[in-house]
């Protein structure tokens, strides 16, 4: 697996650029990933989604369903895609440091 160094921090990632360990997440990670996910600036709205994903994951050990993400953050799916062009899974979950989505994708 690849190791990435950015702003003095090292991250272990898989081929798809997902963090292997949630504990390695730090604000620099978001800064490092954002460009590859088509995001130039992290706004408050971005942060709100990232915070919710992390809280939910810490509490429940899984990523929330899309519907739950929308309900809790108040962002419709369309807005989520405006914020994270590759979507809540590949975009937001990756930036929040959550494990890679699995299953029949």
């Amino acid at each position: 697996m690849a190791e990435i160094t950015y702003e003095g921090k090292t991250f272990e990632v898989d081929e798809d650029g997902f963090l292997l360990k949630f504990e390695e997440w730090c604000p620099e990670w978001v800064d490092y990933v954002k460009e590859s996910e088509g995001i130039s600036e992290i706004s408050e709205d971005h942060q709100k989604i990232l915070d919710f994903l992390q809280d939910y994951y810490r509490k429940n050990g899984i990523a929330p369903m899309v519907r739950i993400l929308s309900k809790n953050t108040g962002f419709k799916l369309k807005q989520v895609y405006e914020l994270f062009p590759s979507g809540p899974g590949k975009g937001a979950c990756k930036m929040a440091g959550l494990p890679k989505p699995t299953g029949c994708v």
Partner: protein, 437 residues
């Protein structure tokens, strides 16, 4: 000269069936020769390495693809199936081997011009290998690298006016039988329905918003040539309401042996002369047919429209003129709680114009399932957990005998409180006045 020795795969070049091994080898040789002088954007020996890793799997009896893979294009949450080899040093040509799903035209009719354009893009930016088509219907471009995904997407949308198909927890690519394009059994325009609903629900197809995957399929009649009832959560199957049309002269021609039964489908074996009694009348599942005095009669009220008589004598018997479709829901493969075929929900619905009646049912079901469905729960499983009654309620379909094969045999029957005089609020003391402890 092949890059890897493939003694086991080589055996699959013998025999009469078209050999996938010979075909892949041909593509590998074509890429090596590169007669068009292409600047290949992924390793030129990608198909060689695919054969190499496959031979290794034949030896080990194990797959050599890593778990999962999340790649895609901006704006969409699905459409590409990421895949990485677990022996990338040995087979660098397939270190990345992502699959791109492209939405296919309904009925899969093509022009060579379209296919040539597609092959030109794929030759340059992919492995040169495909699956025509995936089981859900998509054109499958088999094997490319992550940096090529946006390139392929750009070319396909800008130069070919085509889009990606679906993947993930969303509406997957719909598919239809070829319908009225070349079948006299088609009760509605299945291709138009498939196209219309695909366009209507682009957002639901490209951006996963559902508890789990959801599929549409459109069959023109109960023969089920696209297997809607087995392979789609929402199955639309054409049928008719009035009588089967009988051409008595053509029936006589079948009986006389002028026309071959089943359009000659059984001509590979001698089954004797056509016997209308044995092959049609006595095979009718509801015994709704009569053959008397050289005339065929069908009791419309008993006919279940199974297609058998029409299939057997297509030149003499035709579907009725009052056409539409049935909607059945819930088909799925075994995981998690067992395989299901679709269950009849709406016995007859209009299927023309913009298919508004069908869309209304779709949207009512989505509203309910998106709210009530659990994570990774197919519609068929939600129906089991929350009951067929609930589904009929959300669709606005009055329950009828058509909705069941047979009534329940257990007495665990729920009533709504408002249906029961006095409701559920009872005082035990009132009861005790009449019944001592």
């Amino acid at each position: 000269m092949a890059k890897h020795a493939t003694p086991m795969l080589d055996q699959l070049e013998t025999g009469p069936w078209p050999s996938f091994v010979s075909d892949i080898k041909q593509e590998a040789a074509m890429r090596a020769a590169n007669p068009k002088g292409l600047d290949y954007q992924i390793p030129v020996d990608c198909p060689d390495d695919l054969l190499g890793v496959l031979e290794l799997s034949y030896n080990d009896g194990e797959t050599h693809w890593k778990h999962g893979g999340i790649v895609g294009v901006f704006g969409y949450g699905g459409g590409v199936i990421g895949r990485y080899c677990d022996q990338p040093e040995m087979f660098p040509g397939v270190a990345h081997f992502h699959t791109v799903r492209l939405n296919q035209p309904a009925g899969k009719y093509y022009t060579t011009d379209f296919l040539r354009q597609l092959c030109d893009i794929w030759d340059l930016r992919g492995s040169g290998l495909t699956n025509m088509h995936g089981a859900t219907g998509d054109i499958v471009l088999l094997g490319t690298t992550t940096p090529q995904l946006e390139e392929i997407f750009w070319e396909v949308t800008h130069n070919m006016d085509n889009d990606l198909g679906g993947s993930g927890s969303n509406l997957r690519t719909p598919a239809a039988c070829l319908g009225e394009s070349r079948c006299e059994y088609a009760c509605y325009d299945t291709q138009a329905a498939s196209y219309n609903l695909t366009m209507e629900y682009q957002d639901e197809l490209h951006r996963p918003a559902f508890p789990y995957k959801f599929k549409f399929k459109f069959d023109g009649c109960p023969n089920g040539c696209v297997a809607a009832m087995a392979r789609s959560d929402f199955s639309v199957v054409g049928t008719w309401k009035d009588s089967i049309k009988i051409d008595q002269e053509a029936v006589a021609a079948y009986v006389a042996g002028e026309f071959k039964p089943n359009a000659g489908a059984h001509s590979g074996k001698d089954w004797g002369a056509f016997d209308i009694e044995a092959e049609v009348i006595n095979r009718c599942p509801s015994a709704a047919m009569k053959w008397e005095g050289g005339k065929l009669a069908i009791d419309r009220s008993e006919c279940v429209r199974c297609m058998h008589c029409i299939n057997t004598m297509p030149r003499a018997l035709h579907i009725g003129d009052e056409r539409g479709a049935s909607i059945l829901c819930g088909a799925k493969a075994p995981i998690l709680d067992g395989a299901q075929m679709s269950s009849l929900v709406v016995p007859f619905v209009e299927a023309k114009g913009d298919f508004d009646e069908i869309k209304e049912v779709v949207e009512n079901i989505w509203d309910w399932w998106m709210e009530e469905g659990k994570n990774r729960e197919r519609l068929g499983e939600t129906m089991r957990r929350l009951s067929l009654q609930k589904l009929l309620e959300v669709v606005g379909q009055e329950p009828s005998a058509h909705n069941v094969q047979e009534p329940r045999h257990n007495p665990y029957i729920f009533f709504k409180e408002e249906e029961v005089p006095g409701g559920w609020d009872r005082d035990i003391n009132e009861y005790r006045k009449r019944h001592q402890r």
